[in-house]
Structure formats: C-alpha cells, structure tokens
Symmetry: D2
Subunit: 357 residues, 4 copies
C-alpha cells in the first residue's frame, strides 16, 4: 500500500530533508509540497539537490492543500503548526517537526516559547526509555505504534536525551547537575537570512549561543529525563547546564554530556546501562570502549552513535553523541515514528550508513 | 636595544607563529631558525606565509646553533627541550613552548607523559591569579619579571585556567566537579602527517578525542587551579572533566567551562570576581553581560575573550573563552612572557586585534 | 539473482564509497573486503560510517581472496590492479577504479604514469558520446553492456569530459585551446597521511596543484575528447589547459570549463548540443539557462549537474559541472557501469538526490 | 605627523579591515567611524575583533561627520560614494573602496552598473604596469603620488590584472581570449543577510556565480589590461572569460588565469616578463618556478603571491595568484595608495606576512 504524503514547509532545511528521505521510501509518495514565500515556485528551485522530485511545485501552506493526504509532515516555524492543525480536516497521521506539540508543561512553554500552548503529542524518539504508569521501563516506540499525532523531537534535545536517559533510568548517574556542550552545524538554525548566520561569519570560527540556560530545547530535555527517572522525588529534579556552539560544518551535532557517577557505581555497571538500553536498536549504537563517534559518520543517516567513558578522577560519566541534526535529529526521527504509527517496518526508507568522508 | 633570537623547531606550527609575531617585534631580531628533518631548507619552503623572513635557512637543532643568542624559543615535541636545555651554553632567556617544564609534580608527569621529568620553569601566563606563600593573590606576571627560564602554557590548559581561576580564587565557584568542553582547531595537534588529521577526515565533522580524562593538559589545569585556591584543603581538590573536540577551523579554541556556584553566592558577586581579575588586562577581556566570544575575533591576536553567565536553574556558572591556540595560546604567551622577563613593555610586538571575518 | 561482490582496497576513500553504495544495492551482496596495511581489522574500524557492514573483516588483497566472486571492484593505487588482474582466476566482471586500464596510448601512459602499461578496458562513463567506427555518435553505455572488464574513470577526467564532449561532438565549440579549472575536495587525493593534505593545511585556504599541464587526468580527458570529435584531423587535436585547486570541502568537484565558440555558431545551437546529449540521461542533467550547479547538490549522489553559458563578448562557451568525486566521479560510475555489464537496470542502487545542505 | 582619519561604512567587512590595518598604522589616527543602520552603536558591537578601537561609536554617514578629516575612506555600497563626495567639504584625501570611481568608460558603467556615472579617480594598485602617454611603461604608483582622490580596486579585478598585465605589457601573451577562474571566499560579497550566503549554503560546497560574463569586475580588468597593452590596436582588444566560484573559506582569492602564448615566445621570456615587473615589489611576489601560492599564505597580509607555469602542450601560460580579498584586495590597497598619496613610506602599517595555518 502506498500512503499519500504532504510536506508543509518544503522549501526549508527540515522540509528538504524530509523530502530527501521520503523520495526513497518504499511506501510513501509525496503528492503535495507547500511553502510560504516560495509558494508557486518549482520545488527544485529551492531544493536543487532533490532531482527525483523536480516535478513538484510548491503550493501555499493551507488546510486545503494538506487535507485528504494520509500523512502530513509539518516543517514550519514554531507557532505555525498548532494553529494549522486546528483547521485541518481528516488526516490519518500528522507529524510535526516544530516545537508546538513537544512540551506537556504549560509553564515550560510559557517560560521558553510564549504564546498559545498546544497539546503535547506522542514524542517521536522511539529508542528513548520511558517509565510507564506502573514504573516499569519501556521504549517510547510503544507510544508511537498506531499514533495519529506525533511531535518529532528537537534535534539537540533528542541527542542529549538519548545520551543521558539510559544512565538515569538505571540509576547509575545522578539526574542533577548534568552538563552538555554541543558542537552544532548552522542548518539547525534554519534557512532564513540572518547576518550572524552568514558564511563569512561562521567559517573558520566557533560561536556559542544561548549560553546560560536560555536554549529552548532545555525543557524538552528535562521532560525526557524526568520521564525515565524513578521515584516521585526524581520527577522534578533533573537539572542541566546546556551550551550549544556553532561550528563550521553545515550539518551535525556532537554532544558531550557529563553526569556525576551515582555513589557506589562501578564503571562496568555504567557501561552496562547503556549497552542494555541500545543493544537491539539499529539506529542508536553504543560504540566499543575507547571509541567515540564523529558527526561525519552519521551524515545523512538515521543513526545516533554514542561513545562512553567513565572519568573516575573527575567523578563523572562522559557520553559523546553524534547525529545528523536534519536526519536522525529531525526528518529521520519523524519518518521512523511515522513508520511505527502506520504499522510499517520501523526502518523503512531509512539508512544506517552515513556519507563520509 | 635589540635582542638576538633563535627559534628551535621553526618549521612547525608553533614555530611558525613565534616567527610571525617575532617578525613584527620592535626589539627582537630572529637570527637563527632550526629544524630537524627540515634542516638545510630555506625557511620559506616550510613557512610560505612569512615573506619577511625569506632570507633565513633552517639549521639543525643543536646546542651550537642556539648558544650565544640572547633569547631562545623552543617549539619542539615534548621530551626534546628538556634534553636540549642541559646541553645549552649561556643563554639569557629560554622560553619552552613544549610541555617539559610545565608541571611541578613528578606524579603528574609520570601519569600523563612518562619518561624523564625536568624541573618546572616559570609558567608563562601573566594574567593568571596565583596565591603567594603568604596566601595573598597576585598575578603570575610577577614571577615572570626577570625570569631566565619560562614554560609557555599548553593552549587548552591556559584557556581553561584563565576561564576558571578568577572564580576559584574568589571562592564564588566550587573548585571541584568542573566541566570543560573545548572546540579546537587541528593546528594544535601539530604538522606531523597523520591519517586522522587529514583534511578529508576533519572537514565537515566534529571529532572528539582524549575523552574521559586522558588529555595531557589536565594536570596542568589542575596545577593552575590549585595555585589560586585558598586554604590547605583546596590544595589538592580541583577536579575537572575535560573533553576536546576537533572542529573544522585551522586555528582557535572555544572553551565552555562550567562550575557549581558556591553556596550563597549571588550572580553579581560571580561577575565581580572575573571583572576584578581582568579589569586592567589588555590581553584577557571579560565581555559585557549577555555577550560571548567567538574564536574568529581572536585570530592571530594575543587576546583571550571571556563571556560569563550564571545559570541559576542549573546551579552553574558558565564561562566561554575564545583564543587563538597558536597566538595567545602558545606563541603570543611565550613572547608576552619574554617581554616581561627582559624588562620590555609587556605588549611589545603583540596585537589585541584579531583578523575577522 | 544476487551477485557476490568483493572490494579490494576497502579501507580507503574510493573503497568506502563503493561499499556505501553497494550496501544499498538490491542485487549485489558484499562478501569480501580486502586491505593492505589494514588486513585483519574489522571494516568498521576504517569505515565507521558503514554501520550495516560492521560484520565484515578486512582480508589481505590477494587473488585467492578475490577469486570466485561474480564481481570484483578494485580501489587500489595505480599500478596495483594491473598486476593483480594477471593473477586473478575466474571472475565474471572486474571494475577497476584505478588508472591502470584507462588509457589506450602507450605514450600517454609513459608520459604521465610510467611503468608497465596494461590494456585499456571499457571506459566507465555511460553518458559519454563516442563516435563509432562508422563515424556515428553513440553513447559509451553501448560498449559497457555485457563487458567483463571496466575501467572506472578518473573523477576530474569524467567531469571535464562530460562537460565538453557534447559541444565537440556537435562541432559547436573548437576542440583546441580548452581551459578547465576545478575546485576539488581532498578526498580525491586519498587517505594516505601527507603533510600537505592535513586539515590545518587545507582549511580556510585554496591550494592549486599540478599546475601547468602535469595532472594525470589530462591524457584521459584528451582521449575522451578525441573519441567524440569528427574527422581525421580532429583525432589528435584536443588541447586543454587543466588546473585543479584544492578547496575546503571533503568531497566534490566544481569544474569550470571553457571553449571557443566555433565560428558561425549561435547560442541556441550551443545549448541545443548539450540538451540533445543529455535529454534522456537521469544522472547527467543540464540545468535551465541562467542556472548553475553547486557541488552540495550532488553530495553522495550519482548525479553530474551542468550549467552552460555563452559569453559572446569573450567568444567562449562556459560549462560548469558539479559532481561528487567519490560518488558519480568514482564509485557511482563504477556501479552504474557494472549494472550495464550485468544486464541490470542501469540505475540500480544509485540515487539521483544529493545530501544538502 | 599624525593624519586624522574617518571611515565611512565601518560596520561592514571592508570597513572592518580598513580599521584593523589603520589601528596599527604609525601615522594615521581613526577619529570617526560611520554607519547606516548601525549608527549609534559602539563599533565593537559590529567589529568584535577590533579591541583596540572599542572606544569608538558609529555616527551616521553624513558629510558633516566626515568633513575636516585629513583622510576619508569610503567602504560603502556602489552608488553611495559618488553622491556623498559631491557634498563633502575640504578633505585632503578621499579613498573610495567602492566601484563608483574606478571606470573611465561611460559605456562600461552603463553596461555593468547603471545609474549615474562619476569621474574616474587614480586607480589604487601601485604595482600595476601602465603605459604612459609616450607609450613608455611605468608603474601605477606614479599616478598615486600626491593624489587627492583614489579608487581602490575591485578585489577580483586587481588579482587578475596583477596576474596578466606583465605578460601583456611585454607582449609575451596574447591579450585576447584570456580565461580566469577564481575561488573566492564570501566576505567579498559583504555582510548583508542573504539566503544564498548563509553558512549552511556555503560550507562543504563550491558555488559558481555570475557565470558567462556578467561580473562587474570584468570591465575593470579590461581597462587595466588595455592600459598596459602596446599599440593602438591593442587599446580595445582584451577579452576575458571570467568565472568566480564561492568556496568555503571566509577570505581569500585564488585566481587561475591563462593566456595564449604569443607566437615565437620561449618559456624563459615569459617568466622574465613577470620577474621584471615585480622584482622590486615587496607586496607582489613571483614565486620560484614550480611553486604556487595558496590563499592562507596571504591571510591578513598586503601580499599578492603569484605562481607561473608555461603549458607548452596547451599553448598557454598559467598564472595563479593568491591574495586576501579584504586586505591586499581592498583595504590594504587603499592604505598603500594613501601612503603614496600623502608622501609616507609606501608600506607604512602594512605587513607582508600572512596568518597561517
């Protein structure tokens, strides 16, 4: 069976990556692409790398253009999908790559985004450990099976959550005083023209931003960590210092996350927690001891690679995670989640192999 | 008065940067340059950017080539300068850009380097706060005035030490459980041909290395932090999780360092500690609140720029520091220290302005 | 039917790209990978981006390791495949990504390579126009159907040949006094550690090499141009000034090729020549007037994109071609040619879409 | 004597580079900086690398702000300086880094720029050979001595003119059918936010633009070539195919220019033409045979490096030139020319050494 698909926001970076993966998906057929200022243009003018979709033309982003498809992907600025959803007709599955439907807490939304807060949808990171109502750990994929509304994750948020959740779920690291520093490429900042994102400003230099706790992915990370922690006390405790640094690569996130070792924990117990969590996951892999990932190895792939070290002198576990912010970080996660929701093989259309060097 | 200068290891990256700065120094004249496998070659073949020194030819790195100069800079692999120094004749001032003379602790040397441990020389970071025998804070520059032997710092080490020492000296951050993650360019890894440092391996990707506490700059950082801490208990306490990440820029270090707020400290007290430390320093500058540096702003300059935020939700102070690993991180620090040792204006030959964009 | 495949030289860049594409090929199964200094290692240690092939281990590159496969790809330094081929047993199809079997002329081989010259194999650029014995133009793919020995092209050579051959074949440009300047990424220079290919040497800079007519792809270009030219006089006439420039991108070739307009030719006739040549080619596309390609649009794809302008003031046609040197430039061409040789759909396992941004 | 200086357009890239060099100039003191949308801001907010000028604040770009200085530099969009000049009061020397005063031909201006054409000023490339009224070759610096109005060159134009003029002046290359292809960094395109100049669009890729003869620097190149050519016939003959390609480096131009060998010319005669032209020039250097420059070697320097090869098989001379588009290409040329105009040492404040790696 072929599902008909529409992508709203198809001229941007997330939209382009959705289309790139969708173009190779055996069960999905992209029938409609929409844009805002780009409406009316051939898609190929905005996504010149997508040769196989050169027959498509961008339509305006309206409910009418999207209604009637089996599957709609939103790749819109935050605030846009919430409003649009309310006006959508019958759509079997909506996957939002924006932030509107990620957070459950009104307070978090108010503090980090502002404006109207929309309901939270199923969070699109299948490999995340979450603790069910009965306190038993399971994978987030269970919540995605058969879902009709999915919130794809923030790319930085899922990278850090995948890095730290196994240790928190197993109790081998402390859930407070976490520290993450991320080297990130500028495609995550979108395609809108801004002086500080010009090539001349970003080549040959590293630029920190949102320093000191203001990045919007922080509440999303804390929500994921809480969902995995055990015990009532843990429910509101995770704290994290989070600093992203723009570096000169168009794509990629290299997140270095550290956490204090839980008292009395051995290095073997630490490693075992991550091994257990991801042993059967094709798209999230723990590298052998002493190996650490680089973003190039995940370029274009739906893969998150993790390396782990226990620094006993510092009393901290260090987890280094690499993924492609547009692929596994956004569009790949969205399509993997859609596969689950629609009962397709979870990896349909998705590659584990990166494009390197 | 003009001082005659020799640079040993002149065909490498640190040697090249020493020469670039020395070429514009009003009181220094480079008379001798030496190399190992490059001996016999015109300097310009190895440093084609140094047009004003195209008259120089590389000699073998021997005591005979270096003796008799007022000032000798070593830019050699670690292990080489210690042996060479013992065979040097009369030289007014030796500045070593390698590691041999940085560490006071035999144990640290054995654990991180191995082989023969040489005596520690005056540490070449003039702006560092250090606590004198009487417990009173002063600047490291006092120890450099009139010195005859100087150990220029490790580039990562001085970046982190300059980032954290003011808070530790003032007691506004805790000296334990520090976390530093650095985005660094590959010129810090030297000019020897290695597969993992090829352009194709490093462009478009972020690559962590020495993860988990094995980097050789860690004991050097801890030594500098101890030297600033107050009280007997503090002398051996600093612990730091330290992770460098290679990113695609030839030069530069962007260090994100975080520390737990000391209990009862206000954000204003935190900022005041760094403001006091660097108020009169031309080469180490704290940016205004809400501003953070990028490495491009320090390219080729003898400048370390700092940005500071207090993340109260995370309970951590975040300090972001940018410098050019070859300039302020190595050669600039060496020359600034030499100026002090020889009674010259501290900033002679050094620029505060970077080359950007 | 599944063909069993071996890749010799699997730890290098061309070998890695062959494997990346082969891993997604519906009819090929990689059973053997070989290396030289890497023999004995898990493949994943050398190609950490190829997660789906992590079960493979590198064997020594010997005839015994390669014999018995349906299909053997060579990704070896030039000189190696010629010798190895003589010792191979029964292999249905051998595709050589090295230079040993590309040139028909002994003189060209002696002048640009030296050493033993091996027989020329079918040239693996299916879209090239070639003039048959009867003087009628056809595509090179005809020579590849059913072939048992194929020489994949040099990446720069095929880029320039695809750029200029349509005009020469149609007689709308002059075949002499051609000029090509190429911006190329360093992955084309291979994975051997060399100082001038270090990241610090190549980031933030453009470096020309092989200036003045010494590049080894020049005779290969001239051979392709001759094969398309009409008339006896044309057979030895093509001359080309060819200059490659290393630029800071790991992959990609952006070739700007210019040729003098043939007297009396109109701009429309010029454009028509390229339109005719590539109208039905999925992997070589002429962009609309006023559009020019960038390498990013071809990253990881088996696509060569061309843009064309007629500069009447200068009296020259300008053709700009973009492709991925490892994909369409090497491994993609090899696999596309293998598909033809084995009677498979020509595009099996190959994507037209690049990974951008 | 100290000259008081104003820089109009100080928040952009050319303005920033003027200020960086001026900050180290022994005879110039920057008293006024102006901007348009940035007026009112501290300069350091727009040029965070210029620490030594952090006391300056941007004023609006008006005649009043500029009048009364000894020296005014314009770093404005084309069209702006022409209008502003008419309203200026007494200023000893005006140097325009824009295009308004470069072209003598009204037709060229109309064809490539449009709008009002202003008078041509002395062209700010001191090392260019020009043929005087008597047909005798001299250097352009003679026209700059004592000048009161100077047009700094277009960065691409001066790179190509310096590359080709010696051969044309000496008659060893033909002045027609020249071909130049340039790898250029995006800082030359300015600091205005445009989607196609975003970091994500330019990293990891090569992007051609203005293909086919539309680049505005073409008439400027042809004018310089005509000024050096001998004989009446030569005066309107130079033709050039000119293609710039954006590559991922923030600064730099690597121009590969080729020209047909004049009939009967030997390789030695060719090389001698360039050697003669630049033998005594500190800022324009011909590298030894077999050596070619890279842009890194000129970063931040007032140096243009040339490499030359004679490709006898192709019948062409190939000249590769490297310079920093903002330094020697714009601001350095402007300041070098100002030195000449004011009777200062020509190299005052200018460095021949680049910042590399």
């Amino acid at each position: 069976m072929t599902f008909s698909v529409a992508v709203a926001g198809a001229s941007g970076y997330a939209g382009g990556e959705l289309l790139r993966i969708l173009a190779g998906h055996p069960e999905f057929e992209v029938r409609t692409v929409t844009g805002h200022s780009s409406a009316g243009d051939p898609l190929i003018d905005h996504q010149p790398h997508l040769r196989s979709l050169s027959h498509l033309r961008l339509e305006p982003t309206t409910p009418e253009a999207l209604d009637g498809h089996d599957l709609v992907f939103f790749a819109l600025p935050h605030g846009a999908s919430g409003a649009l959803t309310a006006r959508l007709g019958e759509v079997r599955l909506v996957v939002d790559c924006g932030a509107d439907h990620r957070l459950r807490s009104d307070d978090d939304w108010a503090a980090f985004y502002g404006g109207e807060h929309h309901e939270a949808w199923s969070y699109g990171v299948p490999e995340l450990l979450v603790r069910g109502a009965d306190g038993v750990l399971e994978k987030q994929r269970e919540a995605l099976r058969g879902a009709s509304r999915i919130a794809a994750p923030g790319c930085n948020a899922s990278t850090v959550a995948l890095s730290l959740v196994p240790g928190i779920a197993a109790g081998v690291i402390e859930p407070t005083d976490l520290v993450s520093v991320l080297a990130v490429g500028p495609s995550g900042a979108g395609k809108a023209a801004k002086t500080h994102l010009l090539g001349a400003e970003l080549m040959g230099t590293a630029n920190p931003y949102a320093v000191g706790g203001s990045h919007r992915h922080i509440p999303e990370i804390r929500q994921a960590l809480r969902d995995a922690a055990a015990g009532a006390a843990a429910q509101d405790s995770p704290t994290i210092s989070f600093t992203p640094v723009l570096v000169p690569m168009s794509r990629g996130i290299l997140a270095t996350s550290t956490a204090r070792l839980a008292p009395g924990t051995t290095p073997d117990e630490v490693r075992a927690a991550w091994e257990r969590a991801y042993a059967d996951e094709p798209f999230v892999r723990l590298l052998p001891e002493g190996r650490f990932p680089r973003t190039a190895d995940t370029l274009g792939a739906n893969t998150c690679l993790l390396g782990l070290a226990v620094d006993e002198a510092a009393g901290r576990v260090v987890v280094v995670a690499a993924l492609d912010n547009l692929a596994k970080g956004t569009a790949g996660a969205a399509i993997q989640s859609a596969n689950l929701a629609l009962g397709l093989p979870e990896g349909a259309g998705l590659s584990v192999n990166g494009v390197a060097p």
